[in-house]
Amino acid sequence: MNGSAIAMMLFGLVFLWGGFGLCVNIANKKSTQKFTD
């Protein structure tokens, strides 16, 4: 794969799954109703 394709793929994966992980983490830390309940 070329460099720019790898960069865009990683950007997409980090943005979406990083965002997902961050929100789940907030849910587990802050909420009275945790994601993992």
Binding site: M1, S4, A5, I6, M8, M9, K30, S31, T32
Partner: protein, 504 residues
């Protein structure tokens, strides 16, 4: 009789059900091709922009409406004023979609069985035509729409049996449990397929085609409209589902963070599906020594003709074939369950009937109508109805939802305050701006563009009699809304509004 409204058992149960609704066939066969044809990796910029400025704001709006008014779409909009018809409009759109979506899931189910012996043979395109019993589109109505195709009807009955089994067991015991199986299984399947895909020769060419950014496309307005369309059609918004699902949330529930989690998971899945699909397409191009653009396709063509061709050549093609078509079945079923729940709950609310009775009617009527799409003309009918209901049913319902809430009822500030009191984190006035300005402008522009295109060139070159069916459905779902609003309800929650109207 009045039943206490059911509730989700857990927060993760609600989120998995919402994600299950959002992740559908489009995530697997629409997003990758859309990204590839709209600038590759550069498409991610407008796509993420659309996600933040329209997808998540609309999802937050629908979650909060369902949670606040604790009802299906018609009941929710009835409580907002004289807009019950609008809720029925969205509900009727859901009904129409269920009737043909179920048939596509049935095809995927049949193809799962075909995958081991590779029944489609060396020419999957010809096989698809034979399997569907395709007739001549210009004579689509002849011979009872080309006659029932029993090879489609049998899996279709199985699809409806599963939907009935899940829905009749209720929110907790049916929908939540089913999604707790379907969703983790679907993510595991797509990860296995992505890993298999990237280990195939030629995979890098496919991934280069999908992700290499063509920055010149980012200034093209049509790419931005496509990105908004992709986000909008992917999140199950504007056709009554998310309002209904959120109405089962307990009173003390987060709204904002749940919407973010759902939206990120949905788009994250699309990206994984893109990696799985395009690495496999790269393999096919490599094997045949042809460029990617001669293999890359989207939609039904990708799933039922290109993929079987690839599977014929792939090592362990039988196993990957089963995994691919099962993932289509899981993605389709979890969405179909949510679509049927949207109109089943509306029937239950309006006519004050127990859930089970409403499910009997909803599944029974939708299953009967779906037989139309299991005929020799089924594919043409399906393609036409899908085109019209998406472009003019869902898109205009979304446009009017933003206009009603933002401009007519001016409810965004109250809803935002309501959400912020409940949620893990607060949303600011940006949410109002996105909803009041950006969403209506983009959806309005998209609608006008679609209309111009529609009248300048008949869709897919279909005969005008077939296209007329599409227009009748588009108008019909609105008319149905007004008819159902005019019918009196014995549900005390609807009755409150009716009593106010009678006094006035």
């Amino acid at each position: 009789m009045e039943e206490k409204r059911e509730q989700w058992m857990s927060r993760s149960g609600f989120i998995l059900a919402a994600v299950g609704s959002a992740i559908g066939l489009g995530n697997i066969w629409r997003f990758p091709y859309q990204a590839y044809s709209d600038g590759g990796g550069a498409f991610l910029i407008p796509y993420f922009f659309a996600l933040i400025t329209a997808g998540i704001p609309l999802l937050i709006l629908e979650f909060s409406l369902g949670h606040k008014f604790r009802g299906s779409a018609p009941l929710t909009f009835s409580k907002l004023g004289k807009f019950e018809w609008f809720g029925w409009w969205q509900t009727a759109v859901a009904f129409v979609i269920a009737t043909y979506y179920s048939v596509i899931v049935a095809w995927a189910m049949a193809y799962t069985a075909f995958a081991i012996p590779q029944t489609w043979g060396p020419k999957p395109g010809d096989f698809l035509g034979t399997y569907l019993g395709l007739s001549d589109p210009s004579k689509w109505y002849a011979g009872g729409f080309g006659g029932l195709q029993w090879k489609v009807v049998v899996p279709l009955i199985l699809v409806w049996a599963i939907v009935y089994f899940v829905l009749s067991r209720g929110v907790k015991g049916g929908i939540e449990k089913a999604n707790k199986i379907f969703m983790p299984a679907l993510f595991i399947l797509i990860i296995i397929m992505a890993i298999r895909g990237i280990t195939l020769p030629g995979a890098a060419d496919g991934l280069n085609a999908l992700f290499t950014p063509d920055w010149s496309r980012i200034t093209d307005a049509s790419v931005w409209v496509d990105a908004y369309g992709q986000i909008f059609f992917s999140l199950s918004i504007a056709f009554a589902i998310m309002i209904t699902y959120a109405s089962y949330l307990p009173k003390k529930s987060d709204i904002n963070n749940n919407a973010f989690i759902t939206a990120f998971a949905n788009s994250g899945f699309s990206l994984l599906a893109g990696i799985a699909v395009f690495s496999t397409i790269g393999f096919m191009a490599n094997q045949q020594g042809i460029p990617i653009d001669q293999v890359a396709k989207g939609g039904i063509g990708l799933a039922f003709t290109v993929f079987p061709e690839i599977l014929n050549r792939m090592p362990m093609g039988q196993i990957i074939g089963v995994l691919f078509f099962i993932s289509l079945v899981f993605a389709g079923l979890s969405s179909l369950i949510s679509i049927v729940e949207a109109f089943s709950a509306a029937v239950s609310d309006k006519f004050n009937v127990p859930r089970k009775k409403a499910v009997n009617w909803a599944v029974g009527v939708a299953a009967l109508v779906s037989l139309l799409f299991a005929t020799g003309s089924g594919l043409f009918l399906l393609d036409t109805v899908d085109h019209f209901i998406n472009n003019y049913g869902i898109a205009f319902a979304g446009l009017f939802e933003a206009i009603f809430l933002g401009w007519v009822l001016r409810q965004t500030k109250q809803i935002r305050t309501y959400n912020n009191e409940l949620s893990d984190f607060k949303i600011g006035a940006w949410w109002d701006v996105f909803l009041i300005v950006i969403t209506p402008v983009v959806l309005g522009y998209m609608g006008i563009q679609n209309l111009i295109h529609e009248f300048s060139k008949p869709y897919s070159g279909y005969p005008s009699s077939l296209l007329a069916v599409g227009w009748v459905i588009v108008v019909g779902v609105v008319v149905v809304g007004f008819i159902l609003q005019a019918m009196k309800s014995i549900n005390p929650e609807f009755a409150v509004r009716q009593k106010k109207e009678d006094v006035a």
